[in-house]
Amino acid sequence: MKKRKVGMALSLVLAAGTLLGACGKSDDNKGTETSKGGEKGKAFSVAMVTDVGGVDDKSFNQSAWEGLQKFGKDNGMKEGKGGYSYLQSKSDADYATNLNTLARQDFDLVYGIGFLMQAAVEEIAKQQKDHHFAIVDAEVKQPNVASILFKEQEAAFLAGVAAALTTKTNHIGFIGGMEIPVIERFESGFLAGVKAAKPEVQVDVQYSGAFDKAELGQSIASKMYSSGADVVFHAAGATGNGLFKEAVDRKAKEPSKDFWAIGVDRDQADMGPDVVLTSALKRVDVAVQDLSKKSMDGNFPGGEVVLYGLHEDGVGLAPINAKAPNKDAIDKAVKEYIEKIKSGDLKVPQTRDELKNFSAK
C-alpha cells in the first residue's frame, strides 16, 4: 500500500515536472513525410541538421529545409540517403551526433542550421576532414566549412523605413529574441532605417531573452502598444508570434486604431492580414540552394564566409500591406533605399557602435 502511494505520488510529480518542463519548449513538431531514397552511385547528396526548433518552426529551420527540398527536386534528387535529407536535434547534445551521422552516411555537404551549432560544426569538421560542412548564421574557420551569414541589417533597415513612414504616434517598438550578434544586426539596421526616414521617431527596444516564448512576446507587445507605439517589429522567432496575437486582438477590439506589426525571416502576412505591415525577409532557402549548387558544381567555398545581402537576394522586404495608409509613399521610399544600398552609397550599420556614427545623409 505504501509503495503504491509512493509510486502514485512520484508519477504525479513527474507529470507536473514534464508539464512545467514543456512550458519552456514548443514541441509540436510533426513528422515530415520522408520516403526512402535509393542508393545511387556518386550522385551529389546534401543534408541538414536542424537546431532544437525542428523543421516546422515557421522560421529559419523550415526555410532552410524548403530550400533544400527545392534544390533536391530541381536536380532530380530523391529524399533520403544519397539524395537530400535532414535530421532533427532535440537537445544541444544532439548536434554533434547528428552532424557526425550525416557525414558518416557520406552526404557530400552537411548544413548546420543556426548559430547554436557553431561549436558542434567546428568540432566535427576537425574530425571529418574529408567532408564538407556549412553553417548558417555563424562563422567557423575551418578549411572544409563554409559559413553563411546574412546582412540582416539591410532588411531591417527597409522595415525601419516602412515603420517610420507608417507611424502616426511617432512611437515604434522593437522586440528582440536573445542578445546575439544576429539580432543586434536586426536592431541596428531597424533603428538606422527609422532614423533615416523620420529622425524624430522614438523606438522602444526590448529583449525577451528567448526565441520560443510567445506569451512573453505578447506581454511585451501589449506594454508597447499601451504606451503609445503603433508599429512593432520583432526579430524573436516564435516569441514574435505573441506580437501578432496581441495586434490582432487589439485591432478586433478597436478597428479604428492602428496596431501594425512587422514580421521577420519569412513573409508573415498570414499571421494577421489586417495588422502585418510587412516582413523583413531573410532568405535562408535562397542561400541554402545557392550554396548547394555551388558545391555540386565543384565550387565549394570552404573556409570562406559567404555573405547574402540585398544584392544577392538573400534578404529583402515583403510587399507592404495594401491596407497601409500611405502605401505608395512607403513603396517609393523603400525602392530608393534599395537602390542606395545596392549601389553601395548607403552602408547600413550592423552593430550598436556603428549605429552611433550613422547618419543617413
Binding site: L10, G17, G31, E33, L87, D94, T97, N100
Partner: protein
C-alpha cells in the same frame, strides 16, 4: 511470486508494454515498426561510434537518476535536479576556464566545484523544508528557473567570450575527455565521466544500505514521526539528503561541462536531463542498480532515436511517446503487479 522478482519484472514488463503500444501507434499512423526499431537499434549500437555516444548520453542520466532516487528514499521529491545540474555545469566550467593548474589538481577541483554548487543549490529547499516546512516541490521547481536565468546572466556578462553567448573552452587540464577513449570509439564524445557515474552508484548503495547514517536516512523516508520518536534528527537528515542529492545532480552537470561540451552556453530552455532523471529513478525503482540500467535504456533510446528519421523515415518524436508510455506503465505498476500476483497464485494451485 517473491517480492523481489515482482520488483524486477514490473519495469521490464512496463518497457515491453511501452514498445508494444509504440508499435501499435506506428502501425496506425502508417509507419513500418520493424524498420523503425531496426533503425533505433542501429542508431544506438550499430557502430562503435554510436555505442560511445550512448555511454556519453547515459553518464549524466545515471547521476541525475541517482539524485532523484536518493532524495526520494528519504521521502523528498527533488524536482530541482535540472537546476542543480545547470549550476553544477556552470561551476565546473568556471573553474575549468578561470584557473591554469596541473591536471591532478585542476580536474578534481573542477569536479568538486560542480558538486559543491549542486549541493548548495539543493541545500536551499532542504533548509526551507527542515526549518519552515516549505514544500520542496514548489521551491525546487522555482529554483530551476532561477538557476536557468542566473547562469545565463553569468555566462553572458561575466564569462562569455567575444561572441557573447558561450564561455571559452575549458583548459585541457580540467577536461574529462580522452583521446584514447575517443579513438577507441571512432571519435565519439565518450569521456572518463562514466567511471565517476558508476562509482556514484556504489556510493549511493553503500551509503544507504551499509551505514548507520543511511539507515537513519531511510528511516526518515519510511516514517518521519517514527524516526523522530526513535531519537533521530529528522531535520538534519532532510537537509543532508537534499545536499547529497544536489551533489549527484551537480556532478551530472560536470559530465556535460567537462566532458561532452567543454563549455557552457546560454540556454533558451531547460536541458531536460533533470526531468529525465525523474523518469529514470521511477523506472529504476529508486535503487542504485535499477537507476544504472534504466539510464542505459534511456540513453540508448535517446541516441538511437536520432537515426530513425534518416534510416526509417519515422519521426524521432515517436521515441518520446514510447518513453512516456513506459513511464505511464511503471507509474500504473499496480495493474502489472496485480496481474503477476494472479499468475503466481495460479502457479501454486
Amino acid at each position: 511470486m517473491s517480492k523481489r522478482l515482482t520488483g524486477i519484472l514490473t519495469p521490464i514488463i512496463s518497457v515491453l508494454l511501452g514498445i508494444i503500444v509504440g508499435t501499435i501507434i506506428m502501425l496506425i499512423s502508417g509507419y513500418d515498426p520493424v524498420a523503425a526499431y531496426t533503425a533505433l537499434w542501429n542508431g544506438a549500437f550499430g557502430e562503435v561510434y554510436y555505442v560511445g555516444e550512448v555511454i556519453r548520453q547515459f553518464t549524466p542520466y545515471i547521476l541525475a537518476g541517482l539524485a532523484v532516487a536518493f532524495a526520494f528514499r528519504v521521502g523528498l521529491f527533488n524536482i530541482g535536479v535540472e537546476g542543480q545540474f545547470i549550476v553544477g555545469w556552470l561551476a565546473s566550467v568556471w573553474v575549468g576556464v578561470a584557473f591554469d593548474l596541473p591536471k591532478v589538481i585542476h580536474l578534481p577541483l573542477a569536479i568538486l566545484a560542480a558538486i559543491v554548487a549542486g549541493a548548495l543549490w539543493a541545500f536551499i529547499p532542504g533548509f526551507l523544508k527542515a526549518r519552515f516546512r516549505v514544500h520542496e516541490v514548489i521551491v525546487t521547481i522555482m529554483l530551476n528557473y532561477v538557476a536557468l536565468h542566473v547562469t545565463n546572466y553569468i555566462i553572458r556578462n561575466v564569462l562569455a567570450a567575444k561572441s557573447g553567448d558561450k564561455t571559452e573552452m575549458i583548459h585541457e587540464s580540467a577536461s574529462l575527455r580522452s583521446e584514447w577513449l575517443q579513438s577507441l570509439t571512432d571519435y565519439s564524445r565518450l569521456h572518463w565521466g562514466i567511471i565517476l557515474a558508476i562509482a556514484c552508484c556504489f556510493i549511493m548503495w553503500f551509503l544507504l544500505e551499509k551505514t548507520t547514517r543511511g539507515f537513519e536516512l531511510r528511516a526518515v523516508g519510511f516514517n518521519q514521526h517514527a524516526a523522530h520518536y526513535a531519537g533521530m534528527n529528522v531535520n538534519r537528515n532532510i537537509i543532508l539528503s537534499m545536499v547529497i542529492s544536489g551533489a549527484f545532480a551537480g556532478l551530472a552537470g560536470a559530465m556535460e561541462g567537462l566532458g561532452t561540451f567543454g563549455y557552457a552556453a546560454v540556454k533558451g530552455g531547460f536541458t531536460g536531463v533533470g526531468f529525465d532523471g525523474i523518469a529514470i529513478a521511477l523506472l529504476g525503482s529508486n535503487t542504485a542498480l535499477g537507476v544504472f540500467f534504466s539510464a542505459i535504456l534511456f540513453g540508448a533510446l535517446k541516441v538511437g532515436a536520432l537515426n530513425m528519421p534518416l534510416e526509417a523515415g519515422v519521426p524521432n518524436e515517436l521515441v518520446d511517446i514510447i518513453i512516456a508510455l513506459i513511464v505511464f506503465f511503471v507509474a500504473s505498476s499496480y495493474i502489472i503487479r496485480a496481474f503477476l500476483d494472479r499468475i503466481g497464485k495460479k502457479g501454486v494451485k
